[in-house]
């Protein structure tokens, strides 16, 4: 396995908090206002993890949440990583992302600021992202571009917004995004709880794929259009064949084996990053995990358990 050759992950996806200023219906992490997880890493503990990431020469870190910008020490983390040459991706809903933040981030090696534009009309956006403002999200995109930051747009399709995807692709292009990301709605977290209200129909997905294929030809080199693998099951199938060299860190410092499963394989509060990486590699040889991955590939409804974290016996967690 490729992961057995690497001394550290290629990418750390770090969910800084479960807290968020929005209460999105499709949220995979069940984030919402006031939903900070008990035991989230504090500023000192977060900086300890930052040092571990730097010491182990992890080249790329994604800072996400919840909403990372609600974390008071977000910029301290980003600046410490960036100063050490770690490349960064910031995932944000854009509600707090202003020119001042953009200018500070623009001094760092930021490869992407990813902002969710889940609609192209304010009413649909607010229905899918209660508490949010599409105008603010657009302003955040403009602030990122004005500061010279690379902008990436994401779109999570639901029954509410899927018909606006073509308009959002055009909006992303106009805003100067270098990439547009989408895929099938994932049955995890809040989305799983509201599945019967959110899941797009087969016909809606067919239309969405038609739009994507048409747009992929039309926009050619002006913006990347990324939608494959389309479903999390397809992604899991690839992971089963070749486990990804990526590490998903929860807000309390625990490490998940993979997003769609509940299994936790390490705890970065008590273990070094090297130990956690060892545990992660071990998890992908664990028969229980492999059986669960097979089940999750076959039945997406099982993904709804992904946030009921389950500590693996193999790990010192």
């Amino acid at each position: 396995m490729r992961i057995d050759q690497l001394r550290a992950p290629l990418l750390v996806t770090w969910q800084l908090t479960r807290n968020c200023d929005l209460a999105c219906l499709h949220c995979c992490t069940e984030s919402a206002p006031g939903k900070r997880l008990p035991g989230e890493l504090d500023a000192d503990e977060a900086m300890q993890l930052v040092r571990g990431i730097i010491d182990h020469q992890v080249p790329y870190v994604m800072l996400c949440g919840g909403e990372p910008l609600v974390v008071p020490h977000f910029l301290v983390i980003a600046e410490a990583l960036g100063a050490a040459g770690v490349q960064l991706k910031i995932e944000t809903n854009g509600q707090r992302f202003d020119a001042q933040i953009a200018e500070r981030l623009a001094r760092l090696p930021v490869r992407s600021v990813q902002i969710s534009l889940d609609a192209d009309s304010e009413d649909v956006y607010r229905r899918q992202r209660p508490g949010g403002s599409l105008a603010k999200a657009h302003a955040a995109c403009e602030a990122a571009r004005a500061a010279g930051l690379p902008l990436e747009i994401t779109f999570a399709p639901t029954r509410l917004n899927i018909d606006q995807i073509e308009a959002v692709i055009e909006r992303a292009r106009t805003l100067g995004a270098f990439r547009f990301n989408t895929g099938k709605l994932m049955r995890i977290g809040t989305a799983a709880r509201l599945w019967n209200k959110l899941e797009p129909s087969t016909e809606q997905y067919r239309n969405m794929l038609d739009v994507l294929q048409r747009q992929a030809t039309a926009i050619e080199d002006s913006m990347e259009l990324c939608y494959l693998p389309f479903s999390i099951e397809d992604g899991l199938r690839r992971s089963f064949e070749e486990p990804p060299a990526t590490m998903l860190v929860l807000p309390d410092g625990r490490v998940k084996v993979t997003a769609a499963l509940p299994h936790v394989c390490a705890d970065l509060r008590r273990q070094t990053l090297a130990e956690a990486w060892d545990a992660y590699r071990g998890a992908w040889r664990d028969l229980e995990v492999l059986a669960e991955v097979r089940h999750a590939i076959a039945d997406a409804s099982l993904h709804s358990r992904a946030n009921n974290w389950k500590v693996l016996a193999l790990a010192n967690v």
């Binding site: 690497l6 790329y60 996400c64």
Partner: protein, 51 residues
Amino acid sequence: MDDSKGTNEAIVQGQQANNEKVARNQKPVWETPKLEDVSEQVMAQPYIRFT
């Protein structure tokens, strides 16, 4: 004088040297992760790509 003691020690020392050699040979050759390898891994995981 017991010559077998010296012989046994030599055998043990030889085994230890062999074991160390084997251990050295089995030590994994770690690759330092490189940024250029990241993109494909990110894009292959919808959860990371567009959540």
